[in-house]
């Protein structure tokens, strides 16, 4: 993908796009991911701009098929290609490192989270082209090599999935599942903790394989003999300690007991905890949670949510929380982005969004939640369903279902306009909130939303 593949949605987008919060951890810019299907090119994600700030929880909501999972998976290049096609955009990641002042234990300099941003290597923090004048070390996750990416995946950016049963390897014990993460990204520290010197790479590799129980023949014999045997025991104690610490963090009672269990022997909630332990094992900068509680019962869901937000606050991890349930998002997130048909319809702080939803789609979603007050049979449903994403026209994606749609909506694409006041930033992609002068149209051509609705 070359950089000039990235096309803004319209010329207006460039002028209107406010300066994206410069220091955000992740900046998704104009992300487009398409799928080749029998019927044509499905524009699953079609120009998504999204910022994830350090330590915040941002919600990504939308109906099924709106592109939430594809967006999230694109951050880690987990979308299968083919049939997927990266049609443009970039995902800028500004990594952090262990705080030099406190070496990770937390101090005032790092806001008690133990990690701090890295200065741009090209300009040493002064701001240059390479870091988009943020002064922060910046990599484009869509363009770095596979090796670099692997070093980030599971380590700096981790992901948990909807179905914990499918995401855990059924053939590995809980200990092995979590040990794997440590061995992959933290083998140096493990060897250190075990009192084994780091430098001896061969030893490290052998140890890693032995921890995976992947040693054969003569090596296995070797490990049973004196110089190795001792190291082996020390290492596996170190691994156990690390694994248990990770599990303890997720409030699993007596974690030692489940170390040798296989995933299928645990309940859904427990599996989700193991997955969280695995994801947070390396203190990632960002945790992507793709509907982590949809498969769980309400009573268990509440506890998992508490757990995620508690761990997140303690460690300063940013969370991208994907859900189709607005009430959940309201409860756990700081900011919310509403996705519709592969584009962001509205982004804002949680309180602001729920107090003053601006996009007709957001209003529709909110009104559709059944409640006691609404009379039976009088739920405000959004009519129709998500449109086909195959080769869409340049139009507001929502115009087929929008009650306020006017001809303009069917002929041009709205972009995200900043419409919040200083205290509460709020961006929305609907012509009803557009400036007619910028668009070059008459005010009467714009749609009008009935206020006070929702």
């Amino acid at each position: 993908m070359s950089a000039d593949d990235h096309q803004p949605r319209s010329a207006a987008a460039v002028d209107e796009r406010p300066d994206l919060d410069a220091a955000s951890l992740i900046s998704v810019r104009g992300l487009r991911v398409h799928f080749e299907t029998k019927r044509g090119r499905a524009h699953a994600v079609d120009g998504v701009d999204l910022d994830i700030r350090d330590g915040e929880t941002i919600g990504l909501v939308g109906e099924t098929g709106s592109g939430k999972s594809v967006t999230a998976r694109s951050l880690l290049r987990l979308v299968p290609m083919p049939p997927g096609v990266l049609a443009g955009g970039s995902v800028l990641y500004r990594p952090k490192q262990v705080c030099g002042a406190c070496s990770g234990s937390g101090c005032t300099a790092c806001g008690q989270v133990g990690r701090r941003p890295i200065a741009c290597r090209a300009c040493d923090g002064a701001g240059c082209e390479a870091c988009e004048h943020t002064g922060r070390h910046t990599v484009d996750l869509l363009r770095i090599s596979d090796t670099e990416l692997r070093e980030i995946r599971g380590n700096r950016i981790a992901m948990i999935f909807q179905d914990p049963g499918k995401a855990l390897n059924p053939a590995l014990t809980i200990r092995q599942q979590i040990a794997e993460v440590f061995l992959e990204h933290r083998s140096g520290e493990l060897l250190q903790a075990a009192g084994l010197e780091d430098g001896d790479r061969r030893a490290g590799r052998l140890m890693r394989r032995s921890a995976h129980q992947r040693v054969r023949g003569i090596e296995r014999l070797m490990l049973k003999l004196p110089p190795w045997r001792g190291r082996q025991v020390k290492l596996s104690t170190a691994i156990d300690d690390a694994v248990i610490r990770a599990l303890e963090d997720t409030r699993i009672p007596n974690p030692r007991k489940i170390l040798t269990n296989y995933p299928h022997e645990l309940s859904g909630g427990m599996k989700q905890r193991v997955m969280i332990a695995q994801a947070l094992a390396c203190d990632p900068d960002l945790l992507i949670a793709d509907e982590p509680t949809t498969a769980l019962d309400v009573t268990i869901q509440a506890r998992i949510l508490d757990l995620i937000s508690e761990l997140q606050q303690r460690r300063g991890t940013a969370v991208l929380y994907i859900s189709h349930d607005l009430s959940l998002v309201k409860r756990v997130c700081d900011r919310v982005a509403v996705l519709y048909a592969g584009q962001i319809a509205e982004v804002s702080d949680v309180a602001e969004l729920f107090r003053r939803p601006m996009h007709p789609y957001t209003r529709g979603l909110l009104a559709a939640v059944p409640s006691a007050e609404q009379q039976r049979g009088q739920l405000r449903a959004i009519r129709g369903t998500v449109p086909e994403l195959v080769d869409p026209e340049p139009a507001c994606r929502f115009h087929t279902r929008c009650d306020a749609a006017v001809p303009l909506c069917a002929s041009r694409e709205p972009v995200l306009w900043e419409r919040g006041d200083g205290a509460a930033p709020h961006r929305v992609a609907c012509f009803a909130h557009a400036d007619p002068q910028v668009l070059g149209v008459d005010r009467r051509e714009l749609p009008v939303l009935d206020e006070g609705s929702s």
């Binding site: 109906e63 099924t64 309400v298 189709h324 979603l365 059944p370 039976r376 405000r380 449903a381």
Partner: protein
């Protein structure tokens, strides 16, 4: 078993009027097969003694966590599964119902011959698995189901016309072009149209498929519909469309619904009455407003508190997960997770072992458990030191209060620990306020 002491939780005396359906002491146990020989190793007690009524024209909501037996009960009611015990009675007039309830209060072994004959007679007329051919057909056309999975409930190889027209064909109501016209009418009632007649299910979205399912269920103009989580695979926006449609159909046709769901918002919105199930039993049942405004069961309260929309409720966090329905807990089935459990709630040896096991070192070297009954057992260890460690972790001050008070004895002798607890029967479902039944002993005390 303790449940045998109350074979029939009395149904609420709320509605004297016309009922479409009466469920009486229904159990459904599934055998667990084990090994090469497929020996029966136990039973999953999916539904374990449930009684309630469905008044005509109303919507009864059935809620509970997954695996608590909602769908199984729905299937028994729809005649897809035969109950292991108890019965489902369809279209029974009030007089017969009173007769039946009186008869069922007599334990089976104490029934006189005349009583048994009378019971058999009622069964033959109204109990859905005992009906004669003619009555069964009447029941079949009047009790329809909409299934949870919008994708699995339509035959992928049939066209919409054949799917929706199938009941009409099976009952010989129409064929050929008359059938097609009837199908079009039905499709129009659920917001689809003639253009959808000749399409395959995979050409529709989830919401549209659920509409097709509803059209099929309506084809025979039934009195009663079991809706098994009809919207749980749909988005809120589409869910709202379907809920509106269901309500409209109910109003137009005077339908009666059994609405199964795990979503409290949906149940609250749709139901007149709510039955809360936990592990195959009814925990609480009452009018919808009563359940949501004055819940009388800690489980219901926890469900309500877990609802993300209920921000003003004090969050109650249940520990652990739903126990294995093959071995439901003694006493109140909810006591393993109940935040306000009392010493009378049925604490058993398993609880003691489970809670002791959470502390480091306890239960190491456990060789076996000799059970006298669920409340009395001997734990055998490899060494007496391990036995001591476990016994120490079971000391009163290390246990939750309610459990500690229920413990009668923890004694170590050599390498064994003998434990015994207060033995408790399963609490019955009691009507504590008009139409409001609960099996929580705390609320029984209020009486």
């Amino acid at each position: 078993m303790t449940a045998a002491t109350n074979p029939l939780d009395r149904p609420a005396a709320l509605h004297a009027g016309d009922h479409v359906l009466n469920v009486r002491a229904v159990r459904k146990h599934f055998p667990i097969k084990d090994g090469v020989l497929q020996r029966v190793a136990g039973h999953v007690r999916a539904v374990d003694g449930v009684s309630f009524d469905v008044p005509r024209g109303s919507t009864v909501g059935l809620v509970g966590e997954s695996g608590c037996g909602k769908s199984t009960l729905g299937r028994v009611i729809a005649g897809l599964l035969d109950p292991t015990d108890g019965g489902v009675f369809f279209g029974m007039p009030a007089a017969e119902r009173a007769r039946l309830d009186a008869l069922l209060q007599v334990p089976p072994e104490a029934r006189s011959e005349a009583q048994a004959a009378e019971l058999g007679d009622i069964d033959q007329q109204f109990r859905i698995d005992r009906l004669d051919k003619h009555r069964r057909r009447h029941y079949r056309r009047n009790c329809q189901v909409v299934f949870q999975d919008a994708f699995a409930s339509l035959n992928p190889r049939q066209l919409v016309r054949d799917i929706v027209g199938r009941p009409l064909k099976a009952f010989g109501e129409a064929s050929g072009s008359a059938l097609t016209e009837r199908v079009v009418e039905l499709l129009e009632q659920v917001g689809l149209g003639r253009q959808h007649l000749y399409r395959y299910p995979h050409q529709f979205s989830g919401g549209q498929r659920q509409r097709i399912s509803i059209a099929r269920a309506l084809a025979l103009d039934p009195e009663f519909m079991v809706l098994d989580e009809p919207t749980s695979s749909l988005d809120v926006s589409v869910q709202a469309q379907i809920l509106n449609l269901l309500h409209e159909l109910q109003r137009e046709r005077g339908l009666t619904y059994l609405f199964i769901s795990h979503d409290l918002n949906v149940v609250r919105h749709m139901s007149d009455e709510v039955v809360v199930m936990y592990l195959g039993r009814i925990a609480e049942s009452a009018r919808s407003t009563a359940i949501f405004e004055t819940p009388r069961h800690p489980y219901t309260e926890a469900l309500l508190a877990a609802n993300p929309d209920e921000t003003d409720r004090e969050p109650i966090r249940l520990s652990g997960s739903v126990p294995d329905p093959a071995r439901p807990p003694q006493g109140c089935r909810f006591h393993t997770r109940c935040p306000v459990a009392t010493p009378r709630c049925g604490w058993e040896v398993d609880d003691l072992v489970r809670i002791a096991g959470e502390s480091e070192g306890a239960l190491d070297g456990l060789k076996g458990v000799e059970r006298r009954d669920p409340f009395d057992a001997k734990l055998v260890f490899d060494t007496s030191r391990q036995a001591t460690a476990t016994a120490r972790s079971m000391q009163r001050d290390r246990l939750p209060d309610a459990l500690a008070q229920a413990v009668r004895r923890v004694e170590r002798l050599d390498d064994t620990v003998a434990v015994s607890l207060q033995s408790v029967d399963e609490p019955p479902l009691v009507e504590v306020a008009p139409g409001h039944r609960t099996n929580c002993v705390l609320h029984h005390d209020e009486l």
